[in-house]
Amino acid sequence: MTTTANPSSETGSRPPNTALGKAAAGIDDRMTMARPTRRLLNKVFPDHWSFMLGEIALYSLIMLLLTGTYLTFFFDASMKEVVYHGSYVPLQGVPMSAAYESSLNISFDVRGGLIIRQMHHWAALLFMAAIVVHMMRIFFTGAFRKPRETNWLIGCLLLLLGIGEGFMGYSLPDDLLSGTGLRIVSGIILSIPVIGTWLHYLLFGGEFPGDLIIGRFYIIHVLLLPGIILALVGVHLLLVFKQKHTQWPGAGRTEDNVIGHRFYPIFAAKGASLNMLTFGVIAGLGGLVQINPFWLYGPYNASQVSSGSQPDWYAGFGDGIARLFPSWETRLWGFTIPGPFYAVVLLGPIFIGMFAYPWIEARLTKDRAMHNLLQRPRDVPVRTALGAMSLAFYIVLVISGGNDIIAEKFDISLNAMTWIGRVGLLIAPPIAYWITYRICLGLQQHDREVLDHGIETGVLMRLPHGEYIEIHQPLGEPDEHGHGALKYGGAAVPKKMNKVGGAGRAIRGFFGPIESPPDLPQLGRGPRESADADNREPVSSRE
């Protein structure tokens, strides 16, 4: 007979005898939570270090929300002109916007305000960095394939929203640097054909800078975008939960199972520790490493600018393409299509390609099956090479976004840096593609070689007729020709003897050994015999 052991049934039930049990029973009486709770506790998570990248992004986001909320208690998003009378002496008596003044106050006149502001900025940088690296992990391992295309799409959206959110946060203090960034965005909006001027007037309420853009950015930065980001993150996690994690191929791992730790208690403990570590790194950076000292730049003034004007790194690619694009501009029938518009349009297909990649790949490979096992990047050379190509493109742009700094620090001509960027943008991606493709094939080849011939032991043997050969350790039963029969299954292949329990473990040390060699197993003898023992006793005496 099947029973659901209803606690209120007359057969009587085992009363919970612990505090935890009583509380749980009380909740279950009211909400029937036993099954979903236990399902969560029992949910199995596969383990791999790279799975933590997305978690770091999540914990940075939590830190952003906490510190950001605190900052709103003091920030005044107004462009009203005021004269500064705060603690920071060099700017006393200087006219500035209320936004800049309140930013100064947060940094100098709120106890502990500076560390919160710097933690907010560092958390934003970490958030973006974690998203980018997390996306690379997803891309290069094929984790975006069916059924997870939706989550790839959401991730791409989160990346874009993060860039926008970051740019607005960067603009809010209304200092000289951020105002310059805003001026550039204003120029880019103006460059849009036909509707550019209308769009600019709609957003800025007039000519640049107008008197309401900071207020608008503020409400978008603290309400609109965080709301959308939180909703998307919620769906993102819900889908991860529903579809379960992907896992690497390996013993027992199939497309239909998940092997790893259950959520409770170990996985939860690991998550909590990563959360603490992420918070700790952000707090440490926020206190110890100065970021964006905007009081040095002064309030925004459209007639001033400093050299070395850069956006934060995640927007650097945009600045890079604005710098590299040649001085081209189209004039037709008295109308102008400005150069910066082309530069921005150039980025369009790249972002669209990123969004559409899961479907592009499914179409090219005609692979529409469900995939829960990850692929090693080497096994999919075209995808890996495409990824490397995109990264090369991106890196050239980011470097070019700071080419004036590089020109100054390394004493290179500024114009040469621009030309290096222009040429590099065209040739670096195909070169990256080709090299990556070849490396992938080489690594695959090496794996298959080891499966076929075994691990190189480094032991040379002289055959009776004088030939020297190296002895290989086959990984499985070899056939009559000495070739392995193991098929390559997309998992890591051991390449060193100590990975298969032979030759002892590697000696510790980074530049040189920091420990003396352990008792090495001697050839032809038992693996446990120590060298000392060998010295004391002749081998023959034991045999």
């Binding site: 191929p249 730790h261 909590a272 520790s273 603490m276 440490g284 925004y300």
Partner: protein, 396 residues
């Protein structure tokens, strides 16, 4: 696309006996209703256990039952260190040490936060006061305590919590056929019962109203923000007017004798109350006194030959690329460099762009001297200054 290689046998990873699932099977008795009920029971996988047996089960047995229901199989579960061993005691001490140190750092943070001098005082570069260390100390104690808590948790989970290999089956992909068909039928029945397919008149009028209603969402949001850029044509004009003096940021006018050869002054329209961020934004102008040899080879744009006054020229400071103030002036070569995107302009060729992304010369401001010998503008710029836009050449 050979490059999208699959491994040799993607569908057959190494078999593991542990993966064998547990799917209790029920024989069908042909009754469709009870078949459906069983289908649900299969999905729920509630094992058959009598009440008495259930009440008598130990904690471990109950955990097993729970994981079975959830499709989880714990293959192995072991501690890294032997319980009760010296190594385990050591690990326990290390974890406790992390948490204790974290507690100390939290206390230190609180003490520092409250009692350490924090108020900013002005210092010369390289000089420090106690307050200069306030934020770093907060960062050290707060970050350190969080990191130590994290480290303690890592050590705890690594050394003292059980390591396990659990296997859970995935129940993904399409729902059972019966669910799909039943849901589709329910949807279809609903559509048919409200008759939206057959009542074309209602459908079309509703689509019309719904579509138009979308505008209602859009119109007040966008509508309130729309401003006509051509109402006062501000994009085409700056604050410069006829005979307006060129003044510095502090309001003082400029005479030719104020500037050395090669000098650059940033000037603004000399009207009362003109120095708002908005007038500065497009009327900031560079007044440059060229060297004599630069002035000798000066090439003006056609129609603007009389814009300069002797070796003095005035250009818009707003870059024609994306609007940064072009600020870096190399006296000897007569080059102006924009630090944002490195556009470079040649002063002796009427600020023509010679490198970088800018395509248009900086706008030139016609200047002369007034009766008192101060520089004045002869009129506003003849073109829209700053970044280009769609109809910038259609200046009214």
């Amino acid at each position: 696309m050979s490059g999208f290689n699959q491994p040799d046998n993607p569908t057959e990873p190494p078999a593991d006996p542990a993966t064998a699932g547990h799917q209790p099977s029920h024989a069908s008795n042909g009754d469709p209703v009870s078949d459906v009920a069983r289908e649900r029971l299969d999905a729920d996988q509630l094992p058959e256990i009598s009440d008495e047996r259930l009440q008598a089960m130990s904690q471990d047995e109950l955990v097993d039952v729970g994981s079975k229901i959830d499709g989880v199989e714990v293959v192995s579960r072991e501690y890294r260190l032997k319980p009760g061993s010296r190594a385990e005691k050591g690990a326990e001490r290390r974890v406790a040490m992390c948490f204790s140190l974290a507690a100390l750092l939290v206390l230190a943070f609180l003490v520092l936060y409250i009692w350490f001098p924090w108020k900013f005082t002005d210092t010369k570069p390289g000089e420090f006061t106690l307050a200069s260390f306030y934020t770093p100390l907060l960062g050290f104690t707060l970050g350190g305590s969080l990191l130590l808590i994290g480290a303690g948790l890592v050590l705890w989970s690594r050394d003292l919590m059980p390591h396990e290999v659990s296997i859970q089956a995935r129940h993904e992909g399409a729902s059972p056929e019966i669910e799909r068909l039943a849901t589709a039928a329910t949807l279809q029945q609903g559509v048919e019962s409200i008759g939206i397919g057959r009542r074309t008149m209602i459908r079309r009028s509703l689509m019309g109203a719904g579509g138009l209603f979308g505008l209602v969402l859009l119109v007040p949001v966008i509508g309130g923000m729309i401003k006509n850029p051509y109402k006062d044509n501000a994009l085409y004009y700056t604050a410069w007017r006829k005979n307006m003096r060129l003044v510095r940021l502090n309001g003082t006018p400029i005479r030719p004798s104020d500037m050395e050869p090669g000098a650059l002054e940033t000037v603004f329209p000399g009207i009362e109350g003109s120095m708002t961020p908005n007038t500065i934004a497009d009327s900031a102008t560079m007044l440059i006194r060229m060297h004599q040899d630069q002035a000798d080879k000066f090439q003006a744009r056609p129609g603007q030959e009389d814009y300069r006054w002797n070796e003095y020229v005035a250009y818009s400071k707003i870059c024609s690329h994306l609007g940064c103030p072009v600020s870096l002036y190399e006296q000897q070569t007569g080059r102006i460099l924009c630090p944002c995107h490195q556009s470079q302009f040649d002063v002796t060729r009427d600020a023509k762009p010679i490198f970088g992304p800018a395509t248009r010369s900086l706008a030139s401001l016609p200047i002369k001297l007034d009766a008192d010998g101060y520089f004045v503008a002869r009129h506003d710029y003849r073109e829209a200054v700053g970044p280009a836009f769609w109809d910038r050449e259609r200046r009214p």
